[in-house]
């Protein structure tokens, strides 16, 4: 059983890598700043909302791209939303993929859109995994009697 000190170090290194590898940008730090003792679950709540919204959006995108006649305007609207929420949470790679995705929508490039859908799902599941790991580490630190750095 790791002690609080070891867990804290692990956490610091892990979070640093997320920024370093571009999964998260400064906006995530802004979210953490808004959390305090009075609102200790703010980040977890925002992240949960992001997961919920994202699953819905990706389902909508998958369905929309399977239609006989593809409605690129509708797809662009979904991607715009996904870009917005990813930007609000600091999920940089997902956001950047959405930017490319929107360009393909404007070009009405179905192939490009399908590729981007795959890419955006890929990026989303990676960042989801990373965020869940981060939240788990935070919980472990607290359970070990430590404070989150």
């Amino acid at each position: 059983m790791e002690n609080a000190g070891q867990l804290r170090r692990q956490y610091v290194d892990f979070v640093a890598s997320l920024y370093h590898e571009g999964f998260l940008d400064d906006q995530f730090g802004q979210l953490q700043k808004l959390q305090d003792e009075g609102n200790p679950y703010f980040v977890v709540e925002v992240v949960s909302l992001y997961f919920e919204d994202s699953e819905k959006l990706m389902n909508n995108l998958t369905t929309a791209l399977q239609q006989h006649v593809v409605d690129f305007k509708q797809i662009d609207a979904h991607v715009h939303q996904f870009k917005g929420s990813s930007s609000s949470i600091g999920a940089q790679r997902v956001k950047n993929t959405c930017v490319v995705f929107r360009d393909y929508c404007e070009e009405k490039n179905l192939d490009g859109c399908l590729k981007c859908l795959q890419q955006v799902k890929h990026e989303y599941y990676i960042v989801k995994n990373k965020l869940e790991t981060m939240i788990r580490l935070e919980r472990q630190i607290l359970e070990a009697g430590g404070t989150i750095p």
């Binding site: 802004q30 808004l34 703010f42 992001y50 715009h80 917005g84 929420s85 609000s88």
Partner: protein, 197 residues
């Protein structure tokens, strides 16, 4: 501006109290962005009412009559064509913050409707994730107080608050500023449209 007025304007205690008097109507269709904005505004000591569409905002402001539905924002004694005084009492909004892109009426449409109404003196701030100069100019020329790029940060709200405070102080005449308990900071006084820094 006299020294005593400057002192009152700059006094942090007063600023905090003034902020607590400020009631923001926030309009955004995104749950996530509403949650974020709620936290930002609460941390900045604003009182917030949220709606998730431009239409609901108009309803809240009494700019759409809902004769058939029970309108929770009007007092039971008021008719749909309630007096201006009633409208002021019911909503007491000091600031409107709205997203630009929403299903239904856009933030810009909402801005125009507000500026054409009884609420025209209330500052309207538009938020958007898209940094488009043409959009920004259109909103500012349409009467928006400010245009904020999403994601909105605490520093944006701090700047906005000093904008609002400064323009209010500049508009004061030679009489000294008295902040009464129930007086909202931004009364029905026209505020200049500020260009973005």
């Amino acid at each position: 501006m006299g020294d005593s007025e400057i002192e009152i304007c700059r006094n942090i205690g007063d600023q905090k109290k003034q902020r607590q008097d400020l009631h923001v109507l926030a309009v955004d269709d995104s749950r996530l962005d509403r949650k974020l904005l709620e936290r930002l505004l609460t941390v900045s000591s604003y009182q917030v009412t949220f709606v998730d569409s431009g239409d609901k905002a108009l309803e809240y402001l009494g700019l759409i009559d809902n004769i058939d539905e029970e309108n929770q924002y009007q007092t039971s004694s008021s008719s749909p064509k309630s007096s201006l005084h009633d409208k002021l009492q019911v909503s007491k909004i000091n600031l409107i913050m709205t997203d630009y892109s929403m299903p239904g009426i856009s933030g810009f449409d909402l801005l125009k409707k507000v500026k054409d109404s009884f609420w025209r003196d209330i500052p309207v701030v538009i938020m958007s994730s898209e940094n488009l100069p043409s959009r920004i100019n259109m909103c500012l020329e349409g009467g928006a107080e400010d245009f904020l790029l999403k994601p909105v940060k605490l520093s944006d709200l701090r700047k906005l608050h000093s904008h609002l405070l400064n323009s209010h102080c500049q508009k004061q005449d030679k009489d000294s500023i008295k902040y009464k308990e129930n007086t909202t900071l931004l009364e029905t006084r026209p505020l200049p449209v500020l260009s973005m820094n």
